[in-house]
């Protein structure tokens, strides 16, 4: 079996390479076509008038300028303090000064997000409950590209990467975002946004090494092209050491290389375009227990899982004048994962169009439509596999949202709805209503009510996973997906309050109450004797279904202070209760652990200080309460970063992580996260 496996793998990887190359060329050509077509469509509608040369403006006197008639550009995105939702933005500067080295780790900077490191490469992330290594009910986007996998419902955090120095911001929405973002944005939306190529000009170099971060390096170069275009290319690599294993088996080293580019042009004129892409390849040490129907029935395999992928994204934005705007986006994404006994390759194509315009003075309407095709091919062995092995799913979506402003912008109401059709459950509707009111110049309150859904993943519907029950007889437990699995639904009530008592202090409070229905659960079916797949054995089925319901409630408090120019302090506290129970009396229900896998209390304190002699000190203290279902007791961890900038373009820093104890557990699996220290040099800021 071993050698056959190897041979087929090699063939697969060769054909994968070839396919990837042809895919890239196809996608590039086709993208040009699509962009051109969309342009033609919009151009035809806008009508042709006499075109004045914009550069003539730059020759005019100031008096002449004062009498030029202009088109008004769509208004900028709303400030965080004016949104009727619990939103937080992690800025590039915060990211740089945190010492975070991965996307998942960076989310620790956002209040109320539970980020636990399960082992060297795997992360469990949760917002408002339901923390798991796949974060099944939050939607994660990178520059608008969804990285939520429809195979297991969630995000493979270990392979989501980019050059963190080029990240403009990470927007984190706690709570539902289904009306704008679509299915699976039940508990939260995370959107990582990179800087435009214009903002990343010149050479940037970064290198570092340490105890846990064994070595990393990155290079980026950005330049200008043609008349007003800009580009950048980057490459990076890291090697992260294994976490601590009580049994001394250090299987989980994590290595990844990634490269990419971004081109922007036309920014600020009527049509702006972006084309960007990334490709990565990595090895992720894993341990898998795999059952087999012949003695000894169970094998523990420690091997490097391999993951690779590439994506290409095009974005187009047209300023229609008078505050109206049209945005189009298309992307292609490919991922391949080869793990012990289960391989998956996936292709996704997504097209999205959005139109925003003001009407009748007070209103602003946004509507949009999208289509996504995602197709996967899996290969497994009789114990874990998917039935069917290959599957292609289509998703068609449309949404509309209207915002109306009263009382000179001090009161805003918005209602919206997203309707989508997926291949598992048909139509899904996700409405929401929000109200925001600034009742004092520096104080505002908001309320919201929304419905959001998590649509079935392949794991909910098609999974067949068998584990050995033993202890010596051929007795197995088999998780069986539910072909009729319906969407999990959530009805969410939110309320928030913000106050800025002085320009140097801001306080933000949010509270929520969520009712979930049709949550995934498993129940024990009738045991049977099976003689296919190998020698006769007994199987106890665990049948998946919409068996559970839950209530969650909690609140989050964030305080940001800027007491003097060189100091920033922020603190946050999040409280959460999750209560899960069966929807009805179900015999043989297996216990659900989601209510005890998220912390009831989380608190964080961070400070950013600019010190004399061009040095800076950043301190972060984090408390997470116990996770009984994961065997994790409460812990407090301290990260420190000391930076020095001997010349303006060079920064040297030393970062210490998890300094309070030699190691501690953050999530299930028995692995402990160790104290780590690393040094980093970055040139080019």
């Amino acid at each position: 079996m071993g050698s056959a496996c190897l041979a087929s793998d090699r063939r697969a990887s060769v054909s994968t390479l070839r396919d990837r190359r042809s895919a890239l060329t196809t996608a590039r050509g086709a993208e040009r076509l699509v962009l051109a077509a969309v342009l033609a469509f919009a151009g035809a509608r806008a009508g042709a008038q006499e075109p004045p040369a914009p550069d003539a403006l730059f020759e005019m006197s100031i008096q002449e300028l004062a009498n030029v008639e202009v088109t008004i550009v769509a208004k900028k995105p709303q400030a965080r303090s004016e949104v009727a939702a619990a939103v937080d933005v992690v800025t590039g500067e915060e990211l740089r000064r945190s010492g975070a080295t991965s996307f998942a780790e960076a989310l620790r900077l956002a209040p109320g997000v539970h980020v636990a490191r399960a082992n060297s490469g795997r992360w469990a992330v949760g917002i408002r409950g339901f923390t798991s290594t796949l974060s099944r009910s939050m939607l994660v986007l990178m520059d608008g590209r969804s990285v939520y996998t429809p195979l297991f419902a969630g995000v493979y955090w270990e392979t989501q990467d980019t050059l963190l120095a080029d990240v403009d911001r990470i927007e984190v929405v706690r709570g539902p975002g289904g009306t704008l973002w679509g299915a699976n944005a039940v508990n939260g939306v995370v959107n990582l946004i990179t800087k435009s190529a214009r903002q990343t000009q010149g050479l940037y170099l970064e290198a570092g090494a340490g105890t846990e971060e064994r070595g990393f390096g990155a290079i980026r170069y950005g330049g200008l092209i043609g008349d007003g275009g800009a580009y950048r290319v980057y490459g990076k690599y890291f090697d992260r050491g294994p976490a601590f294993h009580p049994d001394g088996r250090d299987f989980d080293a994590w290595r990844l290389g990634q490269g990419g580019f971004r081109v922007d042009w036309g920014a600020g004129s009527r049509d702006a375009f972006t084309i960007q892409g990334d490709a990565f390849g990595g090895r992720l040490g894993q341990r898998r227990n795999v059952a087999q129907f012949t003695p000894p029935y169970r094998q523990t395999v420690e091997s490097d899982g391999r993951a690779s992928g590439a994506n290409l994204l095009g974005r187009w934005s047209r300023d229609l004048g008078d505050g109206a705007r049209l945005d189009g986006r298309i992307y292609y994404d490919r991922t391949d994962r080869t793990e012990a006994y289960l391989d998956e390759s996936r292709d996704t194509v997504d097209v999205d169009l959005q139109h925003r315009f003001p009407w009748s003075g007070r209103h602003e309407l946004v509507w949009g439509a999208g289509y996504r095709l995602t197709a996967d091919r899996t290969t497994g062995v009789p114990t874990p596999f998917f039935d069917p092995q290959d599957r292609a799913d289509h998703l068609v979506t449309g949404f509309v949202q209207d915002e109306v402003r009263f009382a000179g912008d001090r009161l805003r109401a918005s209602v919206g709805v997203k309707a989508e059709h997926n291949d598992y459950t048909g139509f899904e509707v996700q409405p929401s209503g929000r109200l925001w009111w600034r009742f004092r110049p520096e104080q505002s309150v908001w309320v919201a009510m929304s419905r959001a859904v998590r649509t079935p993943s392949r794991a909910d519907a098609d999974q067949m996973q068998t584990v050995y029950l033993g202890p010596t007889q051929p007795l197995f437990l088999r998780a069986v997906g539910d072909k009729d699995f319906r969407s999990e639904t959530a009805l969410v009530y939110e309320v928030g309050y913000r106050i800025q008592p002085s320009p140097r202090l801001e306080i933000d409070v949010a509270g929520f109450y969520d009712r979930y229905d049709n949550l995934l659960g498993g129940r024990i079916g009738t045991p049977f004797v099976e003689s296919s797949f190998g020698p006769t054995h007994v199987v106890i089925p665990v049948l998946f279904g919409n068996l559970l319901e839950a209530r969650t409630y909690g609140s989050e408090l964030t305080v940001d202070a800027n007491p003097w120019r060189r100091a920033r302090l922020s603190g946050s506290y999040a409280f959460l209760r999750v209560v899960v129970h069966p929807r009805s009396v179900v015999p043989g229900l297996t216990p659900d652990t989601s209510d005890r896998s998220s912390p009831r209390h989380q608190a964080q304190l961070r400070s950013r200080l600019d010190l004399p002699r061009r040095t800076s000190l950043d301190v972060s203290l984090r408390y997470v309460s116990a996770l009984p279902a994961q065997g994790v007791s409460a812990y407090t961890s301290l990260d420190l970063r000391l930076g020095w900038r001997p010349v303006p373009r060079l920064e040297l820093s030393v970062i210490g992580q998890n300094l309070l104890d030699p190691r501690h557990r953050e999530f299930g699996g028995g692995v402990e996260i160790e104290r780590g220290v690393f040094a980093r040099a970055a040139w080019g800021w």
Binding site: P54, I62, T71
Partner: protein, 196 residues
Amino acid sequence: MGVVIGVRPVDRGRRPSWRATALLLVVTAAPRPAPAAEPAAPSEYHVKAAYLVHFARLTEWPAPARDDTPFVIAVVGRDPFGEALDRATRGEKAHGRPILVRRYSSVDDVRDEPQIAYLSTTRRDLARALARFEGAPVLTVGDESGFVDRGGVVAFRITPERHVRFDISLRNSARQGLRISSEVLKLARVIDGPTP
């Protein structure tokens, strides 16, 4: 859309979805179009970019320590100008110094003191951004209503005739140690008198 993908037995050599992908893309595409029409009127930001160059020339700054340093216009926050500002400043000089555009995504990233700072930050960060340049010889420019009330020097506004004009606070400009030419002030709505 009519794209049908058959579910096939495992055959790693064949990737049916490629063809579907290509087909989908082709279906969405149309015959090659004529070039898109130019806008009827220039964008407000083209005009604002041109104004910034005039402000650079028509304002007096305290003399710099060295004459060979560039004259820096910083765009802080989301950049609404794009190439317009690069084109407006290309090869241009102010006070004998070449004009250079620098872009920063946040006020925290601003290392050196610019001469003009266009603040395009969120409302929440605006107070911080203005505090960052307070008392320094920096001409702060923004386009939010209330920008001047909060301590900024120049705020763009759009008239009902769709002309770009601006409000100026003389008190704020004096506080920054700047003197704005009467040629600029003639076009401005001066919202306060000089410091008493």
